[in-house]
């Protein structure tokens, strides 16, 4: 964070100061706070625990995909297949659960077995991506775009082009469950609604801490630790920063890149399984979802560079939150949701221009 970059000088006096640089390197976080302030004023119901919990709960999948994309983008690559691998994992999990249930296996067993199997299966697309990229020297954009098509086609085949229903009702209850249910002045209940609680009074019940929150915090914390504190993380930065120097320092580039793409598709697979728990059905990914693009957008807004060598898990998480609260805040303030797409475009360009002005941040 020291040294005067010539580009920063060109950008004006304020940006050279400590405060200016702090603002530039954390602009996404400041932007997020500014959004909180503005949306709190434009809408009465924005600033509430329920709304914040909902937004974060619904962003579990984008968090996972952005974390996956962070690793890949730091190596200087890109993974376009995350969205469709998510869909593939979702429909595979649903199909497996259906099959195991039909074979007479008890629900809990069928679900846990399917989840484990799909987590293992979700290593495969990444393995293929990694092998194609390292052994056949196919650019990551093309290799993962190929996987984009393959995963999409497979997911449609598995699901026959329809969302897959008929899964146990317990799934969405777990996926959308809360740690704590509070009825002010009456009771506090852990993990589940109290027995016999009338659904008509559900609106009075205060639900706190969705399961997805500790889950995603744990996953992100582990990934952030891996990226910042372990050799795996240092190698990831090294490959993205300067591939020749990384080779000279004895890093096994091919093996490491394969692992990064495997991690990426593993996290996408995890996202697909979460999707089953959240919605209670198996969903293939539609073209309109554009999960991969929004994940990449979050990572870039979080300050990573597509050239590689830069990026942090928590910054990408802030990027996800910026996109999420933008959508939520606009919707809740009664603005046409379509402005969100436009805003994302503008934010991305801002992110890159800031990256250009301060090439040496982080």
């Amino acid at each position: 964070m020291n040294g005067q970059s010539a580009a920063a000088g060109a950008a004006g006096g304020f940006l050279e100061t400590r405060a200016g640089r702090a603002l530039a390197s954390n602009w996404a976080a400041f932007f997020l706070i500014a959004m909180f302030v503005i949306f709190s004023m434009t809408s009465g119901s924005f600033l509430s625990i329920a709304n914040f919990q909902n937004v974060i709960h619904l962003q579990t999948l984008p968090f996972l995909l952005a974390a996956a994309e962070t690793f890949v983008i730091i190596t200087g690559g890109i993974d376009l297949s995350v969205g469709f691998v998510t869909g593939l994992a979702s429909v595979c999990a649903a199909r497996l659960i259906q099959l195991l249930l039909a074979s007479g296996m008890p629900g809990a067993q069928a679900v846990s077995l399917s989840v484990a199997a799909v987590l293992v299966l979700s290593l495969l697309p990444g393995l293929v991506n990694g092998l194609v990229i390292t052994k056949f020297k196919v650019p990551p954009f093309i290799a993962t775009m190929g996987m984009w098509g393959i995963a999409n086609g497979l997911a449609l085949k598995v699901s026959n082009g329809f969302p897959m229903t008929g899964l146990p009702d317990r799934l969405p209850e777990i996926g959308n469950g809360y740690l704590l249910y509070v009825m002010p002045g009456q009771f506090v209940s852990f993990f589940a609604k109290p027995e016999g609680f009338a659904n008509s009074r559900i609106r009075e019940l205060i639900r706190l801490l969705p399961y997805s929150l500790p889950f995603i915090l744990l996953v992100l914390a582990v990934l952030a630790f891996v990226l910042r504190r372990t050799r795996f993380g240092r190698h990831t930065y090294a490959i993205g920063g300067n591939v020749d120097a990384a080779i000279r320092s004895g890093i096994s580039i091919d093996r490491h890149l394969i692992l990064v793409y495997v991690l990426s598709s593993f996290l996408s697979g995890m996202g697909g399984i979460f999707n089953v728990f959240q919605t209670g059905i198996g969903n293939y990914t539609t073209f309109n979802a554009q999960y991969e693009f929004f994940a990449i957008a979050a990572v870039v807004i979080g300050g990573a560079s597509l050239a590689g060598g830069k990026g942090r898990i928590w910054s990408s998480a802030v990027g996800v939150l910026v996109l999420a609260f933008l959508e939520n805040g606009l919707a809740i303030s009664g603005v046409q949701p379509f402005y969100r797409y436009i805003a994302v475009g503008v934010l991305l360009v801002v992110a890159v221009v800031i990256d250009k002005i301060f090439p040496d941040l982080r």
Partner: protein, 359 residues
Amino acid sequence: MSSEPRAGAGPRAGTRGKAASFLGGHWIYLFLVLEVIYFSLRTGGFASLNALQILLYYGVQVFLLSIAELFVIATGGIDLSVGYILGFASIISIKFMEWMAPLGLGEPLTVLFGVLATLVVGLIPGLVNGWLVAYLKVPPFIATFSMLGVCHGVSELIINGVYAMGLPKLAADIGSGHFLYVTRGLAPSFFSRPVVDRGVKVLEIVPDIVVVTAVVVCILAFALGRTRFGRHVYAIGGNVDAATRAGIPVKRRLLGVYAMSSFLASLAGIVYAFMYVSGKADAGASLLLDSIAAVVIGGASLFGGTGTVQRTMIGALILAVLDLGLRMAGTPTFDKYILVGVILIFAVVIERYMPEARK
């Protein structure tokens, strides 16, 4: 802009047989022929004039988008926004014609002005893309992805959640019309379907929009292959620093390339509106894979400096044959996505290991 290939990513040096080199340069032609033979054997009616016309008719969007993508990729960039520019153009073309209808210009003028206005407005996304990429040095991936979002948002705002409809009848007639009609016992008729009794067979030859697309593709093949503009495009993609030193106006050329890309996407959008008599924001969302795949299968490198219109068209035809063949064979289109993905990767691997002998 054009990022350098990673160290060691280039084709391995060494002796290559002439056969391998020939195959590397011509496998797409062979593949296309084999594909056509396979589907002709597998499904009756695939090898027919009718099927060929259907193939070209439903392929025009991908043909136009892949050429748009080719110019951008040849400069070492990428344009992710073409699909949504297509959707945007399909909407505004209909809206323009709707607004002009009450002016009493008559249908031909309304359609003409609507098309021209759409093509002019359709330049704007490309100009912004080009400005971001060339002047602000925003990576093409980010700049055009941003434009994808903006076009999506603006399109949805214009139509407000429903399809754009209300295309003049003349435009729809052009969209479904043919260049030549041949009827037994009558003189052949150009552009307008002869009035015949029911049951009399009229042979329809070459849809109008295929004619338009073919003309555009030929012009662009000339522009990329034979003009200074085309040479500049390759030079920028080959080595941007060398291009700058050689006095090529790199920024202006990039602006032009992105503007042309969005111009072609707009044309594809207008054609979409004429064909389907409706406009929607995500009309081209699923075409991005096909249009980039066509360029890559055609042998262009994403690092820029290579690629021709002719080979890109072969790439697009491979995809179109695959699409129609699978449909006619009754296979669900799901298989198509898988095969496109596989062919895409296969194409790059072949180019790496069997590079075409350079002249």
